[in-house]
Amino acid sequence: MTEDISPLLGRLGPDALPLYSWVAMGGAMVTVAGGLGFLAIVTWLGKWRELWSGWITSVDHKRIGIMYIVLALIMLIRGFVDAIMMRLQQALAMDGGGYLPPEHFEQIFSSHGTIMIFFMAMPFVTGLMNFAVPLQIGARDVAFPVMNSISFWLTAAGAGLVLVSLVIGKFSTAGWTGYPPYSGVQFTPGVGVDYWIWAVLVSGVGSTLTGINFVVTILRKRTTGMTLMHMPMFTWTALCSSILIVFAFPALTVVTAMLALDRTVGTHFFTNDGGGNVMNFMNLFWIWGHPEVYILILPAFGIFSEVVATFSSKRLFGYPSLVYATMVIAVLSFTVWLHHFFTMGAGANVNAIFGIATMVIAVPTGVKVFDWLFTMYRGRIRFEPPMLFTLGFMCLFVVGGMSGVLLAIPPINYATHNTTFLVAHFHNMIIPGALFGYVAGYMYWFPKAFGFRLDRNWGARAFWFWFTGFILAFMPLYVIGLMGMPRRMESYANPDWQPWLIIAFLGACLILLGIVSLGIQLWVSVRDRVRLAAEADDPWDGRTLEWSTSSPPPAWNYTELPIVSVRDSFHEAKLTGKPIPTAPLTASIHVPRNTAVGPVIGFAGFCVGFGVIWFIWWLAAVGLALVATTLIARSFADDTESEAFPGRGTGIS
């Protein structure tokens, strides 16, 4: 390398500013203005103390969950801006048209995928798990509340690295999967891929800790009588998802760390020369990557299960089969990773085995779809927004599943791999499958979190824009994928593709209206919160335990812990007119005190990432030392809990 590396600033210099394109400059300015605007508003309202002690240092699982979801919604907007920019570029880019230079287009599709998977979907699902799981199992908090805060702030640090890359330096151009040898330093010098690596690595550590936390929480902190087969379906899926996190995320850590070593130290893990093995990257990456799909989608299935039972006013059909199907999917998810690279030279037999394993996953998934359909059958269905998103999911997800079975057939995969057919397929799984579920969960549990419902009309509008927008944006990609259009094209010369790409752009515009509707819904609901607060403790005629406590719940969730003897115990209590029995309070309630450990470690993680990206070695060392000293100092603290007094002070105000 011939770059100048100063001891103080590493390779960071004035050329790191995004002066190469007006679009990048605009993005940087919006990011900076957004950050400064947030700081200005908090200062103007005089809310710093409240922000610090109520949120930033909070270890309450409900508040951490809400912060995760806020992070996810911010990153959803950022990721969507990338998406609509790509759609506009491709709609215009016939014969070299369009407005984006190729390198900038590559950054955009890379950051779009990275943000949507790691910093939109992961925080969204983790936030919903954080908010709902302890309430659903009758626990006062998660097993490790401080570690929970550390997880959140590490995720936020990763997201911060992606946001900073827009202003200082560039982001990766190697796609969200970062395949070598292209992502190696020989072909892609500079900081882009390093930003991708460290954002993923830092937030990945946070996710691993979340996985451990939730396995322990669900298996050890259930209230009396909450046997495994009495657990609400969402908690079951959260358990499976957490187990997958614990087992799959080490692969992501290993593979990104090895790529970082290749780029920074000069090792030969994934290089073409020096005895590197590029295929090992694909294997390691997808050993994490395929379970990751299920980490994202299983909790969404859990939300659909809750929503479909509640709004059909019926018991969930085939609960045991849903539990077993979830577990089977979780196990099978480790056996299919090779289908992400059928065309990269494995033999016919290997491809056949992985293809069949992939198709087998469709069986438990099909079981689930039938269970949901039978739950609705002869139910009294209420078309509230969460239910609309669930119905939309059922219609669209089946299409995505069918295209998945097609892609699982190796000979077909040879014809369709790396085309927009694949892009259409995985968006078809992740948008209706995962994101619709998260939005349904957000609208479903919002009244529990804040004590008022979200506006119904704007929720319905949001749904219809998302639903039709999705169809318009992605069905054309199936068509042009079959016509042979490769993914990630900055420009093209085939006039047959352009009309479809224009339709796809219009679909993206409808999705934009869907996102705007979500924003208006929030605004309108906060404005009308008094009217919408009616029956907020149990607005949907809920069935599971979380609806039996107040909205918002106190910091300790339940003053007297409920004793459960059936599934859907709250519904049972309403039906029989007998309240859920509770265990009388024998000792005082203790809640963990706020602590700055989480935000400090998140900040330190950011410093480590930023330092290594820019070769500012002192900063990375300081970050690591900060992590170590914070953890050691924390281990000396004994007085970590304070007594809570029921009746005084509430949870979320």
Partner: protein, 191 residues
């Protein structure tokens, strides 16, 4: 109250076992990568040319003995004999530090002779596997130091003892990983 403490203690140790499982997968994947790359010498030196039986025996002896001393430390602390517990912990620290010194000396010798991690895929995997284990041992040393401080300042209370039991687990885990390294990395090259 005691049942509450015991209950939360079981949560923490279950969580720690999960962490160890996750870490075992991390090592497993690095082992797998090492095996895949064990023939990718790219014209550079292989293990037979580099490894020394003496060094390996000394390292192994130090680390395996430290597993015994850490267990004795835990045992002494459980019986509230702080003096012996501190001595055994200090001995564990010394053995672990000795292991690290030998490892650093061996690896820096390889680098000096032109067999550094950027020489070949084989050496990249070798160095990464060894340093990942070495970093864990270093973290363990910091942990041992912290536990000695806590035993001195706080005495053998239930939190300190529960941490000490997890330190013991962690240290045995590193021993098991070393036995893996011994068998997969060194043994085939030396015999």
């Amino acid at each position: 109250m005691t049942t509450a403490v015991r209950h939360s203690d079981s949560e923490v140790s279950f969580g720690f076992w999960l962490y160890l499982m996750s870490d075992a997968i991390l090592f497993g994947l690095i082992f797998a990568t090492f095996v895949v790359m064990s023939t990718n010498l790219a014209g550079g030196p292989g293990g037979t040319d580099l490894f020394s039986m003496t060094n390996l025996s000394m390292q192994t002896a130090l680390l395996l003995t430290s597993s015994l001393t850490v267990a004795l430390a835990h045992h002494a602390a459980m019986e509230e004999r702080i003096g012996p517990a501190l001595v055994w912990l200090a001995l564990t620290f010394a053995l672990g530090a000795g292991f690290l010194v030998l490892e650093v000396r061996e690896l820096s010798g390889f680098v000096a002779s032109g067999a550094g991690p950027n020489r070949s895929g084989y050496l990249s995997a070798f160095f990464t596997l060894l340093s990942t284990h070495g970093l864990h041992v270093s973290a363990g040393l910091i942990w041992i130091g912290t536990m000695m401080m806590q035993l001195l300042l706080k005495g053998p209370n239930s939190r300190v003892l529960s941490r000490l039991s997890r330190l013991t687990l962690f240290w045995h885990f590193l021993d098991i990983v070393w036995i893996g390294i011994f068998s997969v990395v060194y043994l085939p090259e030396l015999f």
